[in-house]
């Protein structure tokens, strides 16, 4: 594995399976009354968040703490960043404090690439602009594995090699601006799944035809052929930029309601990275149905992030 986790495109299939298998083991520990492991004692993990994202930050914080790491939360608001400090100067500050890993969330695509040039510790991308969100994709893959009985130790895992071969995953919504979509396309493809993107043409990248997936404008045609439907959050401000005429029209054409869920195969699951716009891309009844994995995804996020921290930092020697 690389020293950093910046793009899920950097992960080989072996890397990805190892992370997911490790997460399976760590998840079993989470079921114990005492959840803490001593693995990262004395190591420092910095959460450097330039965007508000309480759920992702808390997830990384919980993961690091369960591995006994020291956690420093560095929020851009009310800090030196708000006074105009550059990313580089912040990076050098964290470096001087001896950060072993920096978890960065930033509104600019590529910010983790830049950070990795300025710090010696590992950089974990917790979402950069419209680029990637690799731990979200890993927790999604982890959730799919579990729901389809392909997690480590399962009978199917031996056959599938821990991958998602043959599973059909349909990702629906604002692909153009979605880091979750990008990370999932690369990772799920690497793990052997067949990915289909569904969106209005305005919300697909111009050259999406070069991606390792299928593309459709028609949700109803895609649903009967989907084992997994992943709904992405659509932001209302996209409407003012003419990506679609109205929220209601978007919802009619690309929202997942009970009637559309009825078109899904029996075992199919419904995913959402959150936060959801109930009534827009997903109906409340669908979000709360047994097919929905929304709450599991949150729980699985901690296990997957523990696995990533463990694998990136656990094997590394103490730095001089």
């Amino acid at each position: 594995m690389n020293r950093h986790l910046i793009s899920s495109a950097d992960l080989t299939r072996a890397d990805a399976v190892r992370i997911l298998d490790t997460a399976d083991e760590l998840a079993r520990i989470s079921d114990r009354p005492i959840k803490k492991l001593p693995t990262l004692r004395g190591r420092t993990v910095v959460n450097l968040f330039y965007e508000d994202s309480t759920r992702t930050r808390i997830s990384f914080e919980a993961a690091a703490k369960r591995l006994s790491a020291d956690v420093i939360n560095f929020s851009a608001k009310g800090s030196s960043v708000a006074k105009g400090e550059s990313l580089k100067d912040t990076a050098l500050t964290l470096e001087a404090m001896g950060a072993d890993a920096v978890v960065i969330r930033h509104s600019a695509s590529g910010a983790p690439h830049r950070l990795a040039e300025w710090v010696r510790g590992s950089v974990l991308n917790a979402g950069d602009g419209s680029h990637e969100h690799p731990t979200q994709a890993l927790l999604d893959a982890f959730t799919i594995r579990r729901r389809f009985g392909r997690d480590s130790g399962s009978a199917a895992a031996a056959e599938s090699g821990g991958g998602l071969d043959g599973l059909r995953v349909t990702i629906v919504g604002d692909i153009l601006h979605s880091r979750v979509a990008r990370s999932n396309v690369w990772l799920l493809h690497t793990l052997g799944a067949d990915v289909t993107l569904v969106a209005p043409p305005t919300l697909l990248p111009l050259a999406v035809g070069t991606w390792p997936c299928s593309v459709s404008y028609d949700l109803d045609a895609a649903l009967p052929k989907s084992d997994v439907v992943m709904m992405l959050r659509v932001q209302r401000e996209r409407m003012s930029a003419a990506y679609f005429p109205s929220v209601r029209e978007y919802s009619r054409r690309y929202g997942l309601d009970a009637a559309r869920v009825a078109q899904l195969p029996e075992r199919a699951i419904v995913m959402h990275p959150g936060p959801m716009n109930r009534g827009v891309e997903i109906a409340a009844g669908v979000a709360d149905s047994p097919r929905s994995t929304v709450v599991e995804q949150v729980a699985n996020g901690v296990s997957v992030r523990m696995a990533v921290l463990y694998l990136l930092l656990g094997g590394a020697e103490e730095r001089a």
Binding site: A108, G110, H113, H131, L206, A207, V208
Partner: protein, 442 residues
Amino acid sequence: MNGQGSATGAPGSAWVIRGAQPLGGPATDIVIADGCIAAMGPHAAADAGPGAQVLEAAGLIALPGLVDLHAHLREPGREDAETVETGSSAAALGGFTAVHAMANTDPVADTAGVVEQIWRLGWQAGHCDVQPVGAVTLGLAGQQLAELGAMADSQARVRVFSDDGRCVADPVLMRRALEYVKAFDGIIAQHAQEPRLTQGAQMHEGEVSGRLGLTGWPAVAEEAIIARDCLLAAHVGSALHICHVSSAGSVEIIRWAKSKGWRVTAEVTPHHLMLTDELVVGYDPVYKVNPPLRTRDDVAALRAALADGTIDCVATDHAPHPVEAKESEWDEAAFGMTGLETALRVTHAAMVETGLLDWPALADRMSARPAAIGRMVGHGHPLTAGSPANLVLYDPSVREVVDPASHASRSANSPFAGMVLPGRVVSTFLRGRPTVLDGKLA
């Protein structure tokens, strides 16, 4: 012949350049006196006066002094990035004897006072002729015409007008500007970028931008403005120049406009002749430029267009920025690349080494054509007796790594840093006076 004062190298001194190869042709001597080429020929050195300084130039190609239609010298206002002194030094070291200074300074070069200040700073620095470009609209705001006539009549003799950095997007304003400058043989140099199609744009819209999650800058935003402005220029019978053409589609439109006999000219930058959007994958803002680096197919089309004359000339779009403007996230970083000190070498690599241009044609694209488009009467002359002695001696045989730290530009944002490029500018002469000798400022 004037041999007096030659030992000091003062203006008006005489020089004999021995054994240089004009436009890559047979070796010959070039005798310079009183700011002009006095004689040329295999034995012309004999004609020089006894006090003439001798420069051995065996193996060096002699080219007419290069002319840049498009550079950002940043003064007044951003002297931390560049000054007229450092920028014109960089120009001379790159083989230029004249450079156009773009108008997007602070204050903007939109009055006779500012353009005269820039012109005077250039004259005082003395490294090359600095020809200010005047803004088309007041403050580059795209609302109201600047006093184009006052700038034309000023000591700076402005003929090229541009809001470069911004597009004159309003079609009525563009039409009026094109019409108005006919009164003094002016030309409007358009930065072709449809603003609504490029809101928040970060890089070429294509396969790479989709993968990297960076907002796309579609080629059609350039092409739509070029098409519109060619039609406007034809309609009012005026002269239009297109800055930094970057796409294959733009080339097609310009080719079509020229076939109609319309007065349309165009430039391409060295970086658009060499680099592609694939370089953005590491998010290093040294590759962030406007218009953006595009695809391999665009590079091929631009090279072919420069070779067949559809694109008239090379212009650097030299855009220096201080370190902190590039040492940041991609979105935050400034657009632009330095180029004066690498332009000839890059064009050599992209056009001559590939067999697309020979040295006479390169001289046309980097000296004669830009001088004609910029109405620079003292520049772009052929290397013949009687011409002003503006010339550059270039060693095509060496290959060296580009090191911005060694550049005279105050900024180091060169996308060619670390690349091995052919050639070295050995000497530059401005009206008979060396501005560069042995690769150093004279």
